[in-house]
C-alpha cells in the first residue's frame, strides 16, 4: 500500500474513484460516434466509396450504443437510482445532460437504422410466415408501403436525421470530453481542448474499428474485398488521425510551455506513472506508426496485399492506442493528487463490480449484439453489390 503512494496525497485520495469501467465509457461512446460519422460520409456527404459499409457502420454504432450506458451504471454506488439523471437533471452539471443527449442520439440512430433497412424489413415480412412474419411486421410497424413515393419520403427524412446525427454524435462525444475538461480541480483534465481531442480520437477509433470489422466480415463470409472502400476509409482515418495527434501534442506542449504551478506533478506523471501507456502506446503505437503506415498506403501504387496488411495493422494499433488515450486521461488524471504534491497508483482488480473481467464482458457484448442485429437486419448485400458494380466498372 505504502509503495503505491509517492509524495503526499490527501488522506481521502487513498482509493482511485473512477476505475477501468470509466475508461471503457468514453471508449465505447467514442466508437459509436466514430462509426456513425463514418456512415455519414456516405449518407450525408454522398461518398460512394463508403456505401458498401455505410449501413453496416450504422448497425455497429447501434450495437455499441446499446452498451454505452452499461459501464456507467455498473460503476454507480446506487445503480437503481441512475434514472434520477433523467428525472431531475441538475443542469449546472456537465454530466446531467448525459441521459437526454444519449436518449436523443439513441432515437436518431434507431430511426436512421429503421429507415435504412425498411425496404428489407417490409420485403422479409411479406415473404415469410410464422414468428418471422410477426417479428418483421412489428419492425415494419405494420406498414408495408414501399412505393417509390414512400421511399422518397424515407430518404428525405433519413438525410435530415443524418444531418442532425452528425452534430449529435459530435456533441455526445465532445460532451464526454467536457465531463473531464471542465474539472478545474484536476490539472491533467482541465483544458478546453479536451472535448475536441475526445471527439477526434473518437472518430479515429470508430473508423479503425469499422475497418477491422469490415475485414473480419469479408474473411468470414468469403466476400471479395472492395479495395476502394478500404482505401477510402484508410484515407479518412489518416486525416482524422493527424488532427487528433496535433491536438494531443498541442495540449501537452502548451502545458509544458506555460509551466504553471502543476507542471512538476504533471511531469512526474508523464515520466513515472504513464510513460509507457502515453509515449509508448498512445503516441508511438497508436499514432506515429499508423500515421506512417497510412501515409505509405496513400502513396504506394499497386501491392494491394501489403497495403491491406498495413491498413489492418494501423487499425489494430489505433484501436489499442485510443484505448490507451482514454486510460491515460481517466486513470492518469486520478493518479496525481489534487494536493499537487504526490501521486498514487491504480491497481485494477480482476473480479468484482469494477473488475477487468466485467470490462472485458462489456467490450465483447457489443460484438454479440452486432451479430444479433446483423442476423435480423443483414447489411451484407451492400458489400457484394457494390463490389460487383465496381468490378464491372473497372473492366
Amino acid at each position: 500500500m505504502e509503495s503505491l503512494v509517492w509524495g503526499y496525497v490527501y488522506p481521502n485520495e487513498a482509493e482511485i474513484q473512477w476505475s477501468i469501467l470509466i475508461v471503457l465509457y468514453p471508449y465505447i461512446t467514442g466508437l459509436v460516434a466514430g462509426a456513425f460519422i463514418a456512415s455519414s460520409l456516405y449518407h450525408v456527404f454522398g461518398n460512394k466509396e463508403i456505401k458498401p459499409v455505410a449501413r453496416f457502420a450504422l448497425l455497429t454504432a447501434l450495437a455499441f450504443l446499446c452498451v454505452a450506458m452499461l459501464p456507467l451504471l455498473a460503476h454507480l454506488g446506487n445503480p437503481l437510482r441512475g434514472i434520477e439523471i433523467m428525472f431531475t437533471p441538475h443542469l449546472t452539471s456537465a454530466m446531467s445532460g448525459f441521459g437526454y443527449i444519449f436518449s436523443f442520439y439513441f432515437i436518431v440512430v434507431v430511426l436512421e437504422v429503421w429507415l435504412a433497412f425498411r425496404v428489407d424489413i417490409v420485403k422479409t415480412a411479406l415473404n415469410s410466415r410464422g414468428w418471422k412474419e410477426l417479428l418483421y411486421s412489428a419492425l415494419a410497424l405494420f406498414s408495408y408501403d414501399i412505393s417509390e413515393k414512400a421511399l422518397e419520403a424515407d430518404e428525405k427524412l433519413g438525410k435530415k436525421l443524418a444531418i442532425i446525427g452528425i452534430p449529435s454524435a459530435a456533441f455526445l462525444h465532445g460532451y464526454v470530453g467536457f465531463i473531464f475538461g471542465g474539472i478545474k480541480a484536476n490539472p491533467w483534465w482541465s483544458t478546453p481542448l479536451m472535448p475536441i481531442i475526445f471527439l477526434m480520437s473518437a472518430i479515429v477509433s470508430g473508423i479503425a474499428l469499422l475497418i477491422l470489422l469490415y475485414l473480419i466480415v469479408i474473411k468470414i463470409k468469403k466476400y471479395p474485398l472492395n479495395y476502394n472502400t478500404l482505401y477510402s476509409l484508410a484515407h479518412y482515418l489518416w486525416i482524422f488521425l493527424i488532427v487528433d495527434v496535433v491536438l494531443e501534442l498541442l495540449e501537452i506542449i502548451s502545458m509544458k510551455y506555460e509551466a504553471l504551478e502543476e507542471i512538476e506533478i504533471i511531469e512526474h506523471l508523464l515520466a513515472e506513472k504513464i510513460a509507457f501507456t502515453f509515449y509508448g502506446i498512445q503516441l508511438t503505437m497508436g499514432a506515429l506508426i499508423p500515421f506512417i503506415l497510412l501515409l505509405l498506403v496513400g502513396v504506394m501504387k499497386n501491392r494491394d496485399k501489403l497495403k491491406v496488411v498495413m491498413v489492418t495493422i494501423s487499425s489494430v494499433f489505433i484501436v489499442i492506442g485510443v484505448f490507451a488515450m482514454r486510460w491515460n486521461v481517466v486513470i492518469g488524471g486520478q493518479e496525481i493528487s489534487k494536493s499537487l504534491a504526490g501521486t498514487l497508483t491504480y491497481e485494477p482488480v480482476f473480479f468484482g463490480q469494477e473488475g477487468v473481467l466485467l470490462a472485458i464482458i462489456i467490450l465483447i457484448l457489443p460484438l454479440i449484439i452486432l451479430r444479433v442485429i446483423t442476423y435480423i437486419l443483414p447489411p451484407w448485400k451492400d458489400m457484394i453489390e457494390e463490389n460487383e458494380e465496381a468490378v464491372v466498372s473497372s473492366e
Binding site: 434514472i83 433523467m86 428525472f87 431531475t88 441538475h90 432515437i107 430511426l111 429503421w114 425498411r118 415494419a140 410497424l141 405494420f142 406498414s143 408501403d145 413515393k149 414512400a150 419520403a153 424515407d154 427524412l157
Partner: protein
C-alpha cells in the same frame, strides 16, 4: 406525411409521454422545495443524533459539579471534557449508560504534550524519554488541574 412515418412518430410520442408521466410520479414531493434538491433531506440530516454533549452538560449540581468547577478554572479549561473522556451524550441522557473510561496512558497525554518539532514552541511539551521515569502522567499531574503536583 407517410403513414408509416406517422406511426413511428406516434410511437415516439407515446414513449416520451409515458416517460413524463413516470417522472412526475417518481420525483420525490419535496424535490425543489428550496432548490434543486430533495427538501426533506435537510431535516433528515438535522436529525442525525448528537454524540458529544459539551462540557456544560457535565456541570449539573447532581453530577460532576465539583470536578467541573475545578477544571473550569484550571489551565486545562480549554480542553473539553469529551476530548479526553470521549463522546458522552448517551451518558448525559441516561446516566446508567457509562461512558468509556478516559485514556490515562502516557501516549494519550503525549498526543498534546510530547515534544514535537512541528508544535508551536511555547506550548508545554516534555521529552517522553527523560521526563517522568515512565510513570503515568496522572501520578504527578492532576489532569483536571495541571501544574499542581
Amino acid at each position: 406525411m407517410q403513414p408509416h412515418l406517422k406511426k413511428a412518430f406516434t410511437l415516439l410520442a407515446i414513449i416520451i409521454i409515458a416517460f413524463i408521466f413516470v417522472r412526475s410520479i417518481a420525483v420525490p414531493d419535496s424535490f425543489g422545495e428550496y432548490g434543486w434538491y430533495r427538501g426533506d433531506s435537510v431535516n433528515e440530516l438535522r436529525n442525525q443524533p448528537v454524540e458529544h454533549a459539551g462540557s456544560q452538560a457535565c456541570s449539573d449540581v447532581d453530577c460532576h459539579k465539583t470536578l467541573y468547577s475545578i477544571w473550569s478554572e484550571s489551565r486545562h479549561k480549554t480542553v473539553n471534557c469529551e476530548t479526553c473522556h470521549g463522546p458522552a451524550e448517551k451518558h448525559v441522557s441516561n446516566v446508567r449508560i457509562m461512558p468509556e473510561p478516559a485514556n490515562d496512558s502516557r501516549d494519550f497525554c503525549g498526543l498534546c504534550h510530547y515534544k514535537r518539532v512541528a508544535r508551536p514552541g511555547e506550548f508545554p511539551q516534555i521529552d517522553p524519554v527523560t521526563h517522568g521515569e515512565n510513570l503515568r502522567c496522572a501520578y504527578c499531574h492532576n489532569p483536571h488541574k495541571p501544574w499542581f503536583v
